[in-house]
Subunit: 322 residues, 2 copies
C-alpha cells in the first residue's frame, strides 16, 4: 500500500513540477500565462471556467509559424504557377500571371492585391480539396524558405507549440483563426500543431459540390467566399464556434478585433500579441511592415491588459530544430 | 485479487449487455446501427476507424426533432412578428409582412419563399447574437405546438437522442448540419441534444462586427450568407469540418448530397434516412410534402445501402415524454 500511495503521489506530483513552457524564459510573460491557466482551471478560483468554455484561438501566420518576407502560402502559389506554366504556358492568361511567372515574388508583390488574387485563384482552383491538400503536402516536403533554407513547416515557433500543448493538457480547445487559406492550413495543421481540421478556420475561396465518377467531391473554385481577417475574425468565430474565446493569440492588427471580441466577454480573458523583436533569430518588424503590420495592438494592447510577447527576451528558443 | 478481477470484469461487462438503443424495436435497423458502430470501433476489424475520424452528421428538422406542419423556426418568426407589430405596427413595412401578421401561418406559407425571407429577416436581425438566442430560449419556454400542444423542444425524437449518446459513448463527434438557422439551433442544441455550438452548422444570415459601449459584439443582419441545404451541406461540411462524415442521418431530399458525400469516402459508411411513416404518433409524409419532401432518397437510398428508418415499425417510442 505504501508503495502504491507513493507511486500515486509521484504521478500527481510530476505535472505540477514539470515546466510546461520550457522554451519560454522565466519572466512576466511566462508567469502571466501560467497564472491565467492555473486560475481558470482551479474550481476554487473566482476565475474558474468550465472545460466546455475553454476556447483558445490563434492566428497562424506570424503567430504559430513565420510570415516573412511574405506569407508562405504565396511561395506555394508562385512555385506552382511557374511549374505549371513551364509545362503549359497557355495557363498564363493575363499580364499579371505572365509577370508573376517571369518576375517572381517581387514582381508579384508589386502587382498589389489584384495580382495576388489572380495568382492564388489560378493555383488554388479547379481541383478537389483532397487533391489540393495532397499537393500542398508534396510542396512542403521539398520547398525551402529563401532566406533560412529551412523547410517552411520547420519554421514553427517552439514556444507556441508548447503553449498549444499546455492549453490542451488543461482541457482547452485550441483553434486556428487565420487570414490564410483554410484548405492550405489544414494540409499541415494536424501534424504541425496537433490541431484537427474542424478546429481550423481561415479565409476561403468558393467551392462547388460535384459528382465525379459516381463519387461526391468538393471542388475548389476561383473567387473569394470569406476573408478571415480583422472584423472577419470575430464574425468567423461566431459563425464557426458560437462562443467567445477566453484566450486569443495574434501578432498583427489583423488580429485586433479577435482580441477585442474575446476580451469583451463576461469572464476572464488573456490576450497575447507575439511581437517580432528578434532580427537575429527570426525577423524584426511591426509598424512599418507590409506583412504582419502591428500598430494599433502595440499602442493599445498593453493598456487593454494584453500581453506583448517580446520574442527576443521572452523566448529562449525560437525553432523546434534549435 | 479475485474480487478485483471480478469487479473489473463486471465493469467491462455491463456496457456490453445494456441496450444502448432501448427505444428502437429489435429488428434490422437497430441491428445494422449496432453492427456498424461495433465494427468501426473494433481495432481488430477491417472496418476500424480511428476516433479522430468518427464524424457523424445529422440534419435537424425532421431528423432530430419534428418539422410539421412547418419548420418550428417559422412559428418563432411569426410569433415574434405579431408581438412586435402589436407594440409597434410601423415595423410592418411591406405587404408581405402585413399579410403575415394579420393572416398567420397559412397566409405566410402561401406567400412563398420571398415572404418567408422577409418575415425571417424582420425577426432575426438588428440584435446581437446573444440577445437573439436569449429570445429564442424565452420563446421555447412557453410556446406550444399548434397540433400536439407540446413544447417544441419536447418534440425531439427519443430514438435519435439515444443514437447521439450511443455514438458519443463510442468516441464519435456528433454534428448538426441543418438547413435551419445556425443561431436558432444553437440556442437549444446543447441542452436538447448534448451538441455544443461549435458542432452546429446551419443556414446563416449576414452578421457584422461592432463595438457597442466599448464591447465587441456580433450583430445579426438581414440577407442570406449561406444556405445549408442540398449541395450546401457537403460544401458546409468541407468548410467547417474538413473531413467526410462516416455516419450521416437525414430525412429529406435536402440531405441527399450530404449522404452521398459521406458515402463517397474510402472507408465504411452508414447512411440513415428517417422515414415519417407514423401518422398516429407523429406525422406521415414523404413524396408529396411541402416540408421535408423525400423522393430521391426513397427511390435511391435502399439501393445505395442507406437505411430507411421506418418510424412506425422501428421506433417503440417517439417522444422523450412518452
Amino acid at each position: 500500500m505504501r508503495t502504491l500511495a507513493f507511486a500515486a503521489a509521484l504521478c500527481l506530483a510530476v505535472p505540477a513540477f514539470a515546466d510546461p513552457l520550457p522554451s519560454w524564459s522565466d519572466g512576466d510573460s511566462k508567469t502571466a500565462i501560467i497564472d491565467f491557466v492555473t486560475s481558470v482551471t482551479d474550481p476554487a478560483s473566482d476565475a474558474y471556467v468550465t472545460p466546455a468554455d475553454r476556447i483558445a484561438t490563434f492566428d497562424n501566420d506570424g503567430t504559430l509559424w513565420a510570415e516573412q518576407p511574405v506569407y508562405f502560402q504565396l511561395f506555394y502559389a508562385l512555385d506552382r504557377l511557374r511549374e505549371r506554366a513551364a509545362a503549359d504556358p497557355s495557363i498564363l492568361t493575363s499580364d499579371a500571371l505572365k509577370a508573376a511567372a517571369a518576375g517572381g515574388m517581387e514582381t508579384l508583390m508589386a502587382g498589389g492585391q489584384e495580382a495576388l488574387i489572380e495568382v492564388v485563384d489560378a493555383t488554388h482552383s479547379g481541383m478537389s480539396v483532397e487533391a489540393f491538400q495532397a499537393d500542398v503536402r508534396d510542396w512542403l516536403a521539398t520547398a525551402q524558405h529563401p532566406q533560412t533554407g529551412m523547410a517552411y513547416d520547420d519554421m514553427l515557433y517552439q514556444p507556441m507549440l508548447e503553449l498549444l500543448s499546455y492549453l490542451r493538457d488543461n482541457d482547452f480547445q485550441t483553434w486556428i483563426v487565420s487570414g490564410g487559406g483554410v484548405h492550405f492550413i489544414r494540409a499541415f495543421a494536424e501534424e504541425a500543431y496537433g490541431i484537427p481540421p474542424q478546429q481550423v478556420m481561415g479565409s476561403a475561396f468558393n467551392t462547388r459540390y460535384e459528382v465525379v465518377d459516381g463519387k461526391g467531391v468538393v471542388i475548389k473554385e476561383p473567387g473569394i467566399a470569406f476573408v478571415d481577417d480583422k472584423a472577419g475574425k470575430p464574425i468567423g468565430i461566431d459563425s464557426r464556434i458560437g462562443k467567445r474565446p477566453i484566450l486569443v493569440g495574434g501578432n498583427s492588427d489583423g488580429d485586433f478585433e479577435m482580441l477585442e471580441y474575446g476580451d469583451s466577454g463576461d469572464g476572464p480573458f488573456l490576450g497575447l500579441i507575439v511581437h517580432h523583436t528578434d532580427g537575429t533569430r527570426e525577423f524584426a518588424y511591426d509598424r512599418d511592415s507590409a506583412v504582419g503590420k502591428l500598430e494599433r495592438g502595440l499602442d493599445e494592447g498593453p493598456e487593454r491588459g494584453w500581453l506583448l510577447i517580446d520574442m527576443a527576451g521572452d523566448w529562449d528558443q525560437v525553432w523546434p530544430s534549435e
